[in-house]
Amino acid sequence: MIEFKNISKSFGDKLVLNDVSHAMQSGKANLIIGTSGSGKTVLQKCLVGLFEPDQGEIIYDGISFTQMNDDDRKMLRQQIGMLFQGSALFDSMTVEDNVKFPLDMFTNDSQTTKLKRVNEVLERVNLVGSNKKFPSEISGGMKKRVGIARAIVLNPKFLFCDEPNSGLDPQTSMLIDQLIYDITKDFNMTTIINTHDMNSVMEIGDNILYLKDGKKEWTGNKKDIIFSENENLNQFIFASEFLQGAKRLRMMEEKR
């Protein structure tokens, strides 16, 4: 579980996060949603320590991350997997070596064991036959999936995904959501997903934090969201006629 209290962060005089508090639960898909520029990425980066928040406290499983020294943070980070919005694959390594890198660094397994594990996760993200390609030779969606494979290869306790399915087709997108959801349940991970994909929200949203202009505007789960009266949330989520229709249908279903 990751709790954070009163997180604020500004760049220059621009306040990006304004007093955000929430708890991310283990074994659940915790979603951070919000329009582009609302501070989702900045919040995730504050949680893992890539940005220092100006104010507030972050607590991992009861231990204050804010007060940890560098060495303790390093130890904790070995249990964190993170998918970056831009994938952040190592340019100089092949797909296979990218995914294998955490294993090389942190395990003493034999090459065959490691390769077996690499192929296993690559298969899970539906990416076979690209092992020897370089990041510059694969598509954006494929990079995303390699990024996910690299993030989960060590079975982290905490998984951060910044827009795991942006740039993916609906089918692959569903598959990735399902994969993240399954491993979250299987390994009781604390998974935090930034998204503005409504499909993901409705499919896997166990615990949703809606950010608006850097402020916590609403929280709840995928059921609550259907019945929510919050004006901003409804405008954001059910932006199109089509989605509004879907909401009405879902409401009727749930009421029955």
Binding site: K74, R77, D91, M105
Partner: protein, 245 residues
């Protein structure tokens, strides 16, 4: 940012490099890779420059010595001393600041901008130790070797031109090389090479590691790092000469 903030952050970066590697084998692999990149990768350019450097200084010395009372073997002495004292360590390192320095700065800058450094940090890897230290260590190991190579090739280049253009026979050239030879000069040149190796790797690493922004800034920081490295080399050259000669 002021000079002192840069200096402070530079020193902190150097201090941060010394931490226990998570997996020594991978660090060793990275070090070897950098030795190949920096050392073997620069052999070509260093060879070409040294040969011509030696050749030109031989021809020019010969051109300036018109006095028949001076023995012509002085040509090889002058070539030897300028190549060993100044050309091989300083000139070669300035060239390497361009070749190696810009490579280091842009490699790290690209990793920073595309969040690869963040990705490593998140895995729990000290990126200063994993990315910066092997580069500096590799430069310190290989650049002095390149300097020695440059000395040999420079002197050889001089020998080649004097004999080809008939200024001096190779025998007299070789005799001149052995006259009034001061071994301390080689030692001094190596001290310079080690110092410069540290400069041309750590300064670009600093500028690359702390890049902010996009690809435009990568180019800019790599240019800045080369300029700063060159100035610091010349400055250090002067200090070392004043201290050690």
């Amino acid at each position: 940012m002021t000079f002192f903030t840069h200096l402070g952050r530079y020193i902190l970066m150097l201090k941060g490099m010394f931490s226990k590697p998570e997996n020594p084998k991978l660090y060793w692999k990275e070090f070897m890779h950098q030795c190949a990149e920096i050392g073997i990768g620069s052999i070509g350019i260093v060879s070409i420059i040294s040969v011509f450097m030696g050749a030109v200084s031989a021809v020019q010395t010969a051109y300036q010595i018109v006095n028949p009372f001076i023995s012509k073997t002085i040509i090889s002495q002058i070539v030897r001393d300028t190549v060993i004292l100044e050309f091989a360590p300083t000139l070669i390192c300035i060239v390497l600041a361009g070749v190696v320095g810009s490579k280091i700065a842009s490699e790290l800058g690209n990793m920073r901008v595309s969040e690869q450094i963040d990705a490593l940090e998140i895995m729990g890897i000290n990126t200063k130790t994993y990315l910066v230290l092997p580069k500096i260590a590799a430069a310190i190991v290989t650049v002095p070797m390149l300097t020695v190579l440059a000395m040999l090739l420079g002197i050889l280049g001089g020998r080649l031109t004097v004999s080809l253009s008939g200024i001096l026979s190779t025998d007299s050239y070789d005799r001149g090389l052995r006259e009034l030879f001061v071994p301390y000069n080689v030692f001094f040149a190596l001290i310079k090479a080690y110092t410069f190796a540290f400069i041309i790797s750590s300064i670009p690493a600093y500028f690359g590691y702390y890049v902010k922004g996009g690809s435009l800034e990568i180019g800019r920081s790599s240019t800045t790092s080369v300029v700063v490295s060159c100035i610091v080399i010349l400055f250090a050259d002067y200090i070392l000469a004043a201290l050690l000669l």
